[in-house]
Symmetry: C2
């Protein structure tokens, strides 16, 4: 039976108190039936949950195609938001986003609006029932879901050059990394692997890795390791059975979670969770498949697996295991929907609702070939502490001024900028696409019309062999910008240079 536990993941709620009401009260779950095959697979899933004795009470909301077509470009109405925020847990079937007309992706809207910072995707092989090269694979990808390049902040700055900002934040890293370790602890997982590219991106990916190292020390009973994303992705693709839990940033996670699902052969059968501070949403990873909609053909397994994660999340791992084991037994005993039916191996081809019946018939049974579900009791009580910023002293020591310049000789630009000699600031270097081209560039370096010109305090340059940056005033920076404009330089953007607690907070140019 389900113990109702308030999902105490509020980061602005530091105490680890767990709120429990009496155990007879059902947990209200917001349910969106979705479009296409959505309603059929939701019906099958809810029937199974009910028969398993999950003490939940569905509250239905309207989302998706019908709402879009009624003129709501977000695909969700105000009343639905209220239900979502009240119940905190969503089980969502796939929805259809109509083409064109500026409809927004409801998934992105829900994820961003509700602060669903973690995407959690367990991927397990079902060999030999689902074909894969990796029968032992059993990995969980935990992907940061809110920041990184997916903040979508892009600017075209010159004819030639477009830029996207990759933003990595300390609270974002702490939340996702801690969630990964807490998940590992709650679900009896043994190892967490971090994947980033901090040999190249020393500050951004370096921050993620640094936070990983700090937090891993708080979990001495869980193994931790770190891999460079290119090598890590390659090893995951070649030997996924060597991984347990993987935590990574948004873009890398997008790539490797798709790799994992694809090589397990389980794109049609996997569920995922989107975990937020207050709200969590559970769904299948596949789409609404309108071509087979209404035919009682669809495989409800993806949504059912999402529902299993949901039960564990709300603290009812016992029912979650019961459902999962019945489902594994059904797969194993050869009752297969059309998508995985194989002559000779399958015993019977079943429709959506008959598949659900077969799962219900096996509630209480455990698989004999496939690995038994091992969600452990109490899995739902993941609590994250409030983020505590470490107060640092920030000192302005210079500015990178980006200039649109159509010339081709960096020495010419360098000479002009060096002559400015104003406001006790001086040109330190120029780079083009990150490569130092002044002073002492190489003529082989190809240059675009996008020049990054670094200015620091004049005195800083006088040091020999070692750069000591000296503080500047913001007024100096403003005066420099005025002067550049006066001299007809086309300044397209600026990036201030700071030290934090005396430590350089910016990268050097390649070749600097």
């Amino acid at each position: 039976m389900l113990n109702f536990k308030k999902i105490a993941m509020e980061t602005n709620f530091a105490s680890k108190a767990k709120y429990r009401s009496n155990s007879n009260k059902a947990t209200k779950i917001t349910v969106a039936k979705g479009d296409g095959i959505g309603p059929e697979i939701m019906e099958a899933t809810l029937n199974i949950l009910k028969s398993a004795g999950a003490n939940i009470e569905p509250e239905f909301i309207e989302l998706g195609e019908r709402v879009y077509l009624s003129g709501n470009s977000a695909g969700i109405e105000k009343e639905a938001w209220e239900v979502i925020n009240r119940n905190k847990v969503i089980l969502k079937a796939p929805i259809t986003t109509p083409q064109g007309k500026g409809y927004k992706s409801l998934n992105v809207t829900l994820r961003k609006s509700l602060g669903l910072f973690a995407n959690v995707r367990p991927v397990t092989a079902l060999h030999p029932y689902v074909q894969t090269h990796f029968p032992e694979m059993d990995v969980v990808i935990i992907r940061e879901n809110e920041e990184d390049l997916y903040a979508g902040i892009e600017h075209q700055q010159t004819q030639d050059v477009v830029q996207c900002l990759k933003l990595i934040t300390r609270p974002g890293c702490e939340k996702i990394v801690r969630y990964a370790f807490e998940y590992a602890k709650a679900y009896g997982r043994e190892k967490v692997t971090c994947m980033v590219k901090d040999n190249i991106m020393k500050l951004t990916d370096g921050l993620f890795h640094q936070v990983f190292k700090e937090i891993s020390e708080e979990y001495p009973n869980i193994k931790s390791e770190s891999q460079i994303i290119d090598i890590g992705s390659a090893r995951l693709a070649a030997n996924p059975e060597n991984y347990d839990v993987i935590v990574t940033s948004n873009l890398y996670g997008d790539i490797i979670s798709d790799i994992a699902a694809e090589i397990a052969g389980s794109v049609g059968m996997a569920g995922s969770a989107n975990i937020g501070t207050n709200v969590a949403m559970f769904e299948a990873i596949h789409g609404s498949a309108p071509d087979i909609s209404g035919k009682d053909m669809a495989n409800p397994s993806g949504l059912l697996n999402a529902a299993v994660s949901m039960l564990a999340h709300i603290g009812d791992a016992a029912t979650a295991d019961k459902v999962k084991n019945a489902w594994l037994t059904t797969i194993e005993e050869g009752y297969h929907t059309a998508d995985i039916y194989k002559e000779g191996q399958s015993v019977k081809k079943v429709g959506t609702q008959e598949f659900a019946e077969e799962v219900i018939n096996r509630l209480g049974k455990e698989p004999s070939m496939l690995n038994k579900s091992k969600l452990i009791e109490g899995a739902g009580t993941i609590t994250l502490p409030t983020y505590e910023p470490k107060n640092q002293i920030k000192t302005l020591v210079g500015v990178d001024v980006f200039i649109d310049w159509k010339g081709s000789n960096p020495d010419e630009l360098g000479a002009k900028l060096s002559e400015l000699g104003a406001f006790k600031m001086q040109l330190k270097m120029i780079t083009n696409r990150g490569m130092k081209v002044f002073p002492n560039g190489l003529k082989e370096t190809y240059c675009t019309d996008h020049w990054r010109c670094r200015f620091v305090a004049y005195e800083a340059l006088k040091q020999v062999d070692k750069v000591v940056y000296l503080p500047i005033e913001y007024e100096q920076l403003l005066a420099l910008l005025s002067k550049l404009h006066e001299q007809e330089f086309d300044v397209i953007k600026t990036e201030n240079l700071y030290e934090f607690d005396g430590k350089r907070g910016f990268s050097l140019g390649q070749g600097e």
Copy 2:
């Protein structure tokens, strides 16, 4: 016999004229023997090339460990640069970068300094001699090598937030995409697949995709397709035999080229090329393996495959095929170095030099099981046109001002900034990590101390239902920055907003 052809890849050299000297003159090749197993595998490789009749003349340079340890932090001396620039083609064995002491990666230095814009990595399965799940795999990854996030421009801007710039340029995209199609044409490949993430990064990855679409039309005989990088990586990992040539940007290419090599099982046997405007460099993808150095144990296949690509690149595909087919035959007939030796399958375990002898003994033979090498004559004559910028009218229409603010209520910040009301510019919105939080944000959105505040011309806001951006003067922007500073806002960076030929050159906020 080799026809010497000047590598006419100069982008500032639009005509497709091919320079040939008389056919008896050897092509000078710069050769770096490297560290660790480098000298042994280079000796084996050069012996094979010589026996095959490749009309090349090696000129040796010193690179790597010994140069580093002599006090040169770059690992390369001035004389070596001169030889490299004179000969234009480099065959390089693996080198060792000593740990610590601020030594710079010689690979990065060479790549960036010489403008080696394309990394080309052919990956072919050698089933059953090298174990793989994908016996039919035969793919070439062409990776942009100079820009993207690897420009390494990073700034910490607040206590919480660090940023890396992803820079994508039109000339960079045109060069790499055109090179991919020219490569496909020169080597008889049938399809080029583009992989980017332009559903999220509409301007940067959108530019890459747009250039791909434009250039693909110039090659009607080569199939082209485009995939989102997450799905593309997953499909490559699961079904690599469906791919032929893949072209992508730097980070994605880093990831997928490692995936391809790993799942082919050929990390120890693959070569790669780094192609520049004037210079090209060929090398194995593995390292210097100091643990087996000097033992005549190393497999020279990676460097030999790089040398095969080099021969094709300089226009001698006939000799390239001859060497490659002899090598394939040697592998097939079971003469294996220790790394791939397998009891029962291999015929004889051979050392580095004996392996080379076995290859030499088979020059003129062709494999019967493995696919015959199909490099085609004239492969070396890839010529890229000069980049022609499309002149566009750039109009300044606003500025994104990024503010370090320790408050938590976006409405408070929004109200303060709205009151500024100066210089005919007005606050349009505020985002935090890309998500719109003002006006009309959602209280669930987690906010860091990093606020992007968009200012546009006052009149622009008056339009109903549709934003028409109006030009502003740079002086307005400067005055705004002064005013913000005066009112004690901590401005950490700016991004100007431009229209190019009247088209918006910046993304909207999520939820804007």
